[in-house]
Structures are given as structure tokens and as C-alpha cells.
């Protein structure tokens, strides 16, 4: 049965499984500039403002609610001396890795009706060797009003 937490957990697992991502955090207070070098590329996941509507008359259906959950992420890359890739290329590669991880996960697919990228920004800033990117995935899922 889908739930907000189950989806969020599956998203974090899928990102952690990606070989192109070395660190995943859901902590908004964690400072990317204090990450150790081996944690890059890193991703911070944030759940956005959820829009919920009734899907069906609740009698006799297991999923009577429909939710659109925006999953927002920030991606961080860092350039070090041994790297030949530019920050821009690293950001783009991270963006692709995130999308592959989320749209290719069977565990996420089992929980949601649809997951699609909604916004992507590959060049959101650069400071002290760290470049960052961000984006939003639209997740559509159904659940029971008694088991949110």
C-alpha cells in the first residue's frame, strides 16, 4: 500500500543505489559545504507541498484518495584536482543519474501511479568548488484515507 513515507523511503533507497550518487540526505539543516569530498556527488531530497483530492467514493475501495506529491531535490557536485570533468558536465551527469534512479526503480513504480520530472535546472550556482543543481519530480499516488 502506498503512503507518503513509503514513497519517500523508496526514493532515498533508489538514489542510494545509483552508482553515480555518493551521498543522499533528507536533512534540510545539513550543510553541503561541510560534506567530506568523498560524499560528492550528493543529493538532498525534500518533499514539496502535496495536493490531495478524493479519488472515489470511499465505500468498498482500498484506495480512495489521490495525491500529487512534488519531490524536490538539490544536487551537489565538487571539482577536485584529479577530475577532468567540468562542473557543468558533472551537474548534468548528476541530473541524469537522479532521473534514471527515480524513474527506473521498480520499488517506486510499485508504489506510485506515475513519477515524472517536472522541473530541471542544471546551473543553479557555484561557490567554493561546489556546484549545485535542482529539480522537481511529480509523483502521483493513491492511498486509503484511513492509512495516509
Amino acid at each position: 500500500m502506498a503512503s507518503r513515507k513509503a514513497i519517500y523511503d523508496a526514493v532515498v533507497t533508489a538514489l542510494n543505489t545509483s552508482t553515480g550518487i555518493n551521498y543522499v540526505t533528507i536533512d534540510v539543516a545539513e550543510n553541503a559545504w561541510s560534506f567530506k569530498d568523498n560524499k560528492f556527488p550528493a543529493v538532498r531530497m525534500l518533499d514539496g507541498e502535496e495536493q490531495i483530492t478524493r479519488l472515489a467514493f470511499p465505500d468498498d475501495v482500498s484506495e480512495d484518495m489521490e495525491s500529487e506529491l512534488p519531490l524536490e531535490f538539490m544536487g551537489y557536485v565538487k571539482k577536485n584536482i584529479s577530475q577532468t570533468d567540468s562542473i557543468d558536465l558533472s551537474r548534468n551527469t548528476l541530473m541524469v543519474d537522479i532521473e534514471k534512479a527515480l524513474t527506473g526503480s521498480t520499488a517506486i513504480d510499485d508504489l506510485v501511479k506515475d513519477i515524472t520530472p517536472q522541473e530541471r535546472g542544471t546551473d543553479r550556482g557555484y561557490s567554493d568548488g561546489i556546484g549545485w543543481t535542482n529539480g522537481v519530480f511529480r509523483v502521483l499516488y493513491h492511498y486509503n484515507h484511513l492509512r495516509p
Partner: protein, 131 residues
């Protein structure tokens, strides 16, 4: 008595077959009113003759639901027949009657759920049951 809200509703075929994933139903009763204006009348006059009613029900497609399948079957290779319908507006309060289905619409859009709807005409009286 309290105000009625849609979430307490449901759409049934037969007496127990709750059609799954329905989110809307509507019934539209009407009465034919033939004009009976006579010579000398100063205004038009109408009488009442036959009652009639029509219905719609819609929701999300679930081909595995037997009650949805029974409705769809009429438009595929099933026997055309009346369907006994109940339109609940509260836990034990509903309108009921026999329906001759007249149409079915299935709508699929990428990025959204697949919707299904039916239209039909009442075949006989519409009855009300309230608790």
C-alpha cells in the same frame, strides 16, 4: 437532519455490487408537461403526463472490478438488458431503478488516470429509500 455530503455516496448495480472507483453519479428526473391551453384561456396551461429519468455515473477505470466489467460487457458482447441501479447519497439512503444504458466513454490521457463514464435512461419509476 444534517447536510448531505458526497463522500458518503456510492453507486451500486443490483443490491450489493458497489461499482469500484466511482467518484460521480447524477440522476435527472423529469416530467413531461403537455400543453393544455384552451380557447379563451388568458395564459398557457400545462398538465403533467409521464415521468422519466436519466442517469450518469463516472470514475476511474478498473477492468478487474466485476461490477465495472458487467457495465462494460453490455457495450462489448454481453446481453443487452436492464441494470438495477442504486444511487446512494448516505449510508442507507438511495434512489433506485432499472436503467437501460445508452452510452459509455473511456478517456485516457498520458499523465492522468483513465476515466470511464456511463449514461442511461430509467426504464420505469425512480424510487427513493431513506433511513
Amino acid at each position: 437532519m444534517a447536510a448531505t455530503v458526497g463522500k458518503d455516496g456510492k453507486f451500486l448495480i443490483g443490491t450489493t455490487g458497489t461499482v469500484a472507483y466511482m467518484d460521480t453519479w447524477a440522476i435527472t428526473p423529469g416530467i413531461d408537461t403537455p400543453e393544455i391551453t384552451a380557447y379563451g384561456d388568458s395564459s398557457k396551461a400545462y398538465g403533467s403526463s409521464l415521468r422519466s429519468w436519466a442517469m450518469t455515473a463516472s470514475g476511474t477505470l478498473d477492468r478487474s472490478d466485476t461490477d465495472q466489467a458487467d457495465m462494460m460487457d453490455q457495450f462489448e458482447d454481453g446481453t443487452l438488458a436492464d441494470i438495477a441501479c442504486r444511487f446512494y447519497f448516505a449510508a442507507a439512503s438511495y434512489w433506485s431503478g432499472s436503467v437501460r444504458l445508452t452510452g459509455q466513454t473511456i478517456n485516457s490521457q498520458v499523465g492522468d488516470k483513465v476515466s470511464i463514464s456511463w449514461t442511461g435512461n430509467g426504464n420505469g419509476n425512480l424510487s427513493a429509500t431513506t433511513s
